[in-house]
């Protein structure tokens, strides 16, 4: 276990050093993030014109969802995208061989190798919005609600990671999966809005098939103190299943891996 923490520390300190070279990128990411947030809040505000609500959510509580989305988007930009979009290159160039030979779990190695620090402001800002909007909507935090929030956020992240990893791992067979991640990104954008605002069919799909609801709506309900316990329980089981499946799928994919260059 200690070895894994040590590896992460080494990976991320090298990543930090190498990214200092591209400071302009950091600035661009920051501007793009602020612009995206501003635009999303503006679009969201259109749903509330004339004093209406969005699927029983008030303006402030809907902002909590935007915060959770921003937080997860930051994690995606910092961790998931830089690492998981690389897998296809390892497969294409045959360098996956070297990863598999290392005395460390290959899924772990591939998932944490890089860390893009440009995603960090988004992560922090996302959390800030969550707490700011939750206070605005008159929530008082308790130890219990904060723990439920952290658990449900972890559930969301594990599901998000597993789905990303599943698509990335399929690059063992199909070399071009870049477009599949674009489809995923487009569908996940549905998580900017509360799940109850969608038609029934989509609600079903976004809860059980592609569990967008567990990514943003349920963590937001958790911090607002409205999350039902059985949903939390179900989320723990569902995210575990997703994670176990991603590991199983990776093992299965590796059986089909025929190195490219050797």
């Amino acid at each position: 276990m200690n070895r894994y923490f040590k590896t992460i520390r080494l990976f991320w300190s090298t990543a930090f050093a190498s990214q200092l070279e591209y400071q302009l990128n950091f600035l661009i990411e920051l501007l793009a993030m602020l612009g995206t947030l501003l635009g999303s809040v503006f679009i969201l505000s259109l749903f509330f014109t004339g004093g209406r609500q969005l699927g029983d959510w008030t303006w402030e509580s809907a902002l909590v969802i935007q915060g959770v989305y921003t937080f997860l988007d930051g994690l995606t930009n910092a961790l998931l995208r830089p690492n998981l979009t690389e897998i296809v290159n390892y497969v294409r160039e045959g360098t996956l061989d070297y990863v598999l030979l290392k005395p460390i779990d290959s899924q772990f190695w591939l998932s944490v190798k890089k860390f893009s620090f440009a995603g960090l402001p988004e992560i922090i800002l996302g959390l800030y919005i969550v707490f700011w909007a939750a206070i605005k909507s008159g929530t008082s935090f308790s130890f219990y609600s904060l723990s439920v929030f952290i658990i449900s956020l972890s559930i969301g992240f594990v599901i998000l990671y597993s789905v990303w990893f599943l698509i990335a791992a399929s690059s063992i067979w199909f070399v071009k999966t870049w477009n599949a991640t674009e489809v995923l990104r487009a569908l996940l954008a549905a998580g900017r809005y509360p799940i109850s605002a969608y038609p029934v069919i989509l609600r079903f799909i976004f809860t059980l098939v592609l569990p967008v609801a567990f990514l943003t709506t349920f963590p937001a309900e958790a911090i607002l103190g409205e999350l039902k316990f059985n949903i939390l329980f179900f989320g723990i089981i569902l995210s575990s299943l997703f994670f176990i499946f991603s590991r199983f799928f990776w093992k299965f994919a590796l059986k089909h891996y025929t190195s490219a260059s050797s």
């Binding site: 635009g39 477009n179 674009e182 489809v183």
Partner: protein, 265 residues
């Protein structure tokens, strides 16, 4: 007769080779077509929450608008900056620059060929949409279709020139695709991909109309869906933006080529 200094034979060869090339990537292109579902997600929110009424838009009109926005986006997607960056960094640009064909025209041909490959997938998605929302079915009249076709092409031209402007910055910086993100953000929110622009508050709308973005989705989509729209001024603005962006790209490109150091060669 020549177009951009190219004979018909050259144009035909360019387009057919690029089309053959694109046909190899059918699955990728189908997935890419599918990744444009955002207008449909927005439509489901609008109709479920009955938001349209606030802005004087009924459900059928909205369904048509969002489907049109989807279709216009399908045929005005531009990715030139990514191709160009890759070619520039890998040194593939050097032989392109030596040929008596402007490299940007090669990318134009690639985009047009990709649009042709995309057509059946986009239509399949549109038909699925009609199955799910049968009441929204409509066939635009021929003049409507023609004007929508024309304005979508102009929208594509604006988007292409805008991104070429960023791509030309590749001559100065290694990572100009990062700059593309800065164009994509206002594009996403001001183009009308997420909401018809008529729902914007008037002061935001005024600012948006000063940018090229509303003419990329909102204007063609309104023509196609049959919403009331100022056709004359819309086309005028589209042409104006092309007249502004075209020469700018040309100048920046010429300046850039002088600096070109042939990386990787």
């Amino acid at each position: 007769m020549k177009i951009f200094g190219l004979s018909f034979k050259v144009i035909k060869t360019l387009l057919t080779t690029q089309y053959a090339y694109m046909l190899e990537y059918r699955i990728e292109i189908a997935l890419w077509a599918l990744s444009g579902v955002l207008p449909f997600i927005m439509f489901s929110l609008w109709s479920e929450n009955d938001v349209g009424n606030t802005f004087g838009l009924n459900d059928i009109g909205l369904a048509r608008y969002f489907l049109s926005a989807f279709l216009v986006r399908q045929f005005s997607v531009v990715w030139v900056v990514f191709s160009f960056e890759e070619d520039s960094l890998s040194g593939r640009l050097s032989p392109y620059l030596l040929q008596p064909l402007h490299p940007l025209l090669r990318y134009v041909a690639a985009h047009l060929a990709e649009q042709a490959t995309r057509l059946p997938f986009a239509l399949a998605i549109a038909i699925t949409f009609f199955f799910l929302n049968p009441s929204s079915f409509w066939l635009p009249s021929l003049p409507q279709l023609f004007l929508a076709y024309l304005s979508t092409h102009l929208a594509f031209s604006i988007a292409f020139l805008l991104q070429s402007l960023v791509a030309a910055l590749c001559f100065w910086t290694e990572k100009s695709s990062a700059l593309e993100r800065l164009i994509f953000v206002p594009y996403l929110f001001l183009s009308g991909l997420l909401v018809p622009l008529s729902a914007f508050p008037s002061n935001v709308l005024k600012i948006a109309m000063l940018t090229p973005f509303p003419y990329l989705i909102n204007f063609p989509a309104k023509i196609l869906s049959g919403m009331p729209v100022d056709i004359f001024n819309g086309f005028l603005a589209q042409v104006l933006w092309i007249l502004i962006l075209g020469p700018s790209v040309n100048i920046l490109w010429k300046l850039g080529v002088k600096r070109y150091t042939a990386m990787g060669a």
